[in-house]
């Protein structure tokens, strides 16, 4: 099969039609030969995966909550028409392949690169396992594999893309909640889907990462049925890059260094003056 064109590709995950079947998790593990972690009883709805990490590059979140009551500002009290108003939201989470990627920004070895498909990839033969990328990723996507001693995350099935195949998770998704394609095509589809949902009365539906407001845009973006933070995604105000602290951090250290020098000079020089007098 021919490889995809060297154009930005990505995922559009429509959470409004996710049924929580976890086929994406299974397909991802199977294709990428991920062993998975020991099964755990998390007592968290139907979730027994827990979080994205080195062994889980897809994670279906199950969010059970009662929505807030109507506040008279167009707020829809029943975002999903099930269980008498109780919302049961599901979302297949994954690496967002951010345009301004925090992991790529801090990686000291240049192991994390942007591919010809505009995705973010950790080169396993370059990564030395310093874990700075884990510290930086705002989505908790990257995990450390003790066996390989390196950081791992979704590759957006880079090997499949090179061979003209769509990522395993998108292929396995039975409801097409996970859509794969060229980014501009996905964005158009997302705009249409959002408009349809809002026309149907789902006023809280929103696109997350569709535009540049979150990390310059996400190649894996989402249609959400509630606020981003409900899905453990930082909202626009909190979607900030690690480098925001470079300047204040170093400036604070420089000011402290100068104050320290002054404090030291005062301590050592005052006594020299005393000795002279």
């Amino acid at each position: 099969m021919a490889a995809f064109e060297e154009r930005p590709v990505g995922f559009f995950t429509d959470t409004s039609i996710c049924i929580g079947c976890k086929a994406c998790e299974v397909a991802c593990k199977e294709w990428n030969q991920l062993e998975g972690n020991e099964p755990k009883l998390l007592l968290d709805s139907f979730d027994n995966t827990g979080q994205l990490d080195a062994e889980n590059w897809r994670h279906v979140q199950f969010i059970e909550h009662l929505p807030e009551s109507s506040n008279g500002n167009g707020f829809v009290p029943t975002p999903t028409p099930i269980a008498g108003g109780q919302a049961w939201l599901m979302m297949s989470d994954v690496c967002k392949h951010c345009q301004n990627a925090s992991c790529l920004e801090v990686c000291p070895t240049n192991a994390i690169v942007r591919t010809e498909f505009d995705t973010v990839l950790i080169q396993q033969d370059v990564c030395n396992g310093c874990r700075d990328c884990i510290s930086a990723c705002p989505y908790g996507v990257i995990g450390f594999n003790e066996k390989t001693g390196t950081a791992h995350k979704c590759t957006l099935c880079y090997d499949r893309l090179q061979n003209g195949m769509q990522p395993a998770c998108a292929k396995a998704c039975p409801t097409e909640s996970i859509k794969f394609g060229y980014l501009d095509d996905l964005q158009k589809a997302a705009d249409q889907r959002l408009a349809a949902l809002q026309t149907a009365g789902y006023k809280k539906a929103e696109l997350y990462g569709r535009d540049a407001k979150v990390y310059g845009g996400l190649n894996a973006f989402f249609l959400l049925m509630d606020k981003p933070e409900v899905y453990k995604l930082p909202n626009e105000q909190n979607a900030v890059l690690p480098s925001r602290n470079n300047l204040p951090g170093y400036a604070g250290a420089v000011v402290t260094a100068i104050a320290g020098l002054v404090a030291g000079v005062l301590a050592f020089r005052s006594n020299r003056m005393n000795e002279r007098s």
Binding site: V126, C130, A136, Y139, G252, A253, A259, G260, N271
Partner: protein
């Protein structure tokens, strides 16, 4: 009051090796700066303590690269911090404190080693006399000043490295770099005072000056800790920093209060003279431990 910061990042699992590096790196950078200060503005009697500071600086630096390499998942790839294995060029990213830190550690190691050789030559190891002669003039002053800049960097960049993340506490507290640097100075003076109390030969006047410096640095560190706590309180993550970590904060507070208490409280004057320096060093360790571990639990 702004809404609390949202944090969904995973923990990087930086633990004991990194704590050890932050401790010894801080001691080394702080000691180098104290050595330079004593050399440039101290009396003739202070020069012995200056040499001890340069020697301590290098000895404290020795475990640092070992600890950092041991912390890597792939220790044999430590050179990837300096060389880009993708294209064979240098790996240097100004926006990554870890990248700058790797280079700074390399250059600081050179400055610390040469100053160490000069110090031991002046202390009687004559094989290094040529280096000691070189370091006695203007070249030596320039060398010490540049080395101090690098030492300050090693003492403080670790805090900036933590802040340049998306972790709770760390990324909420931009003053971490300054706070670590100030505590490095306090810890380095504590180390020198400990050596002064346990070894002969350090001038009594020098020891008195070091105590004054210790108090000055403790005030600076206290201010920085206060600023740090305010920043994490504003971000809504102060509960993580305090909480179960109060015991470590008590150690930090004891280390900062010791130089003041010893000179003003009658009962404290009966304490062993090494008490204040030991508390100061424990405070240096406790401060870094509370910052490293509180964010990751």
């Amino acid at each position: 009051m702004p809404p609390p910061a949202q944090h969904f990042a995973a923990s990087p699992g930086w633990e004991w090796w990194i704590l050890g590096y932050f401790f010894f790196g801080g001691l080394s950078g702080g000691s180098y700066a104290i050595g330079t200060l004593l050399r440039l503005v101290g009396t003739a009697a202070d020069q012995r303590a200056s040499r001890v500071a340069f020697i301590a600086s290098f000895l404290a630096l020795l475990p640092c690269p070992i600890l950092l390499i041991l912390d890597l998942g792939q220790p044999l790839r430590f050179l990837n911090m300096l060389f880009d294995m993708s294209d064979g060029g240098l790996a240097f990213k100004p926006e990554s404190p870890m990248s700058i830190g790797a280079w700074a550690l390399l250059f600081y190691g050179l400055f610390s080693f040469v100053s160490f050789l000069g110090a031991i030559a002046d202390s009687g190891w004559h094989a290094a006399d040529p280096i000691a002669r070189l370091l006695r003039g203007t070249v030596g002053i320039v060398w010490s000043v540049i080395g101090t800049g690098l030492g300050f960097f090693i003492a403080g960049y670790t805090g900036v490295l933590l802040a340049v993340s998306n972790q709770p506490v760390w990324s909420d507290g931009w003053p971490l770099g300054g706070m670590f640097l100030a505590s490095s100075l306090t810890g380095a003076v504590a180390l020198l005072l400990l050596l002064a109390h346990t070894r002969r030969g350090v001038d009594a006047g020098t020891a008195a000056r070091l105590v004054v410096a210790d108090r000055n640095f403790a005030i600076l560190e206290t201010v920085l800790i206060a600023v740090f706590l305010v920043t994490v309180a504003i971000a809504g993550t102060i509960g993580k920093v305090l909480g179960v970590w109060l015991l470590l904060w008590l150690v930090v507070a004891a280390g900062l209060a010791a130089p003041f208490v010893l000179s003003r409280v009658e009962a404290a004057r009966r304490w062993p003279p090494v008490m204040a320096p030991v508390l100061g060093l424990l405070g240096l360790l406790a401060l870094r431990a509370v910052v490293i571990f509180s964010a990751q639990t």
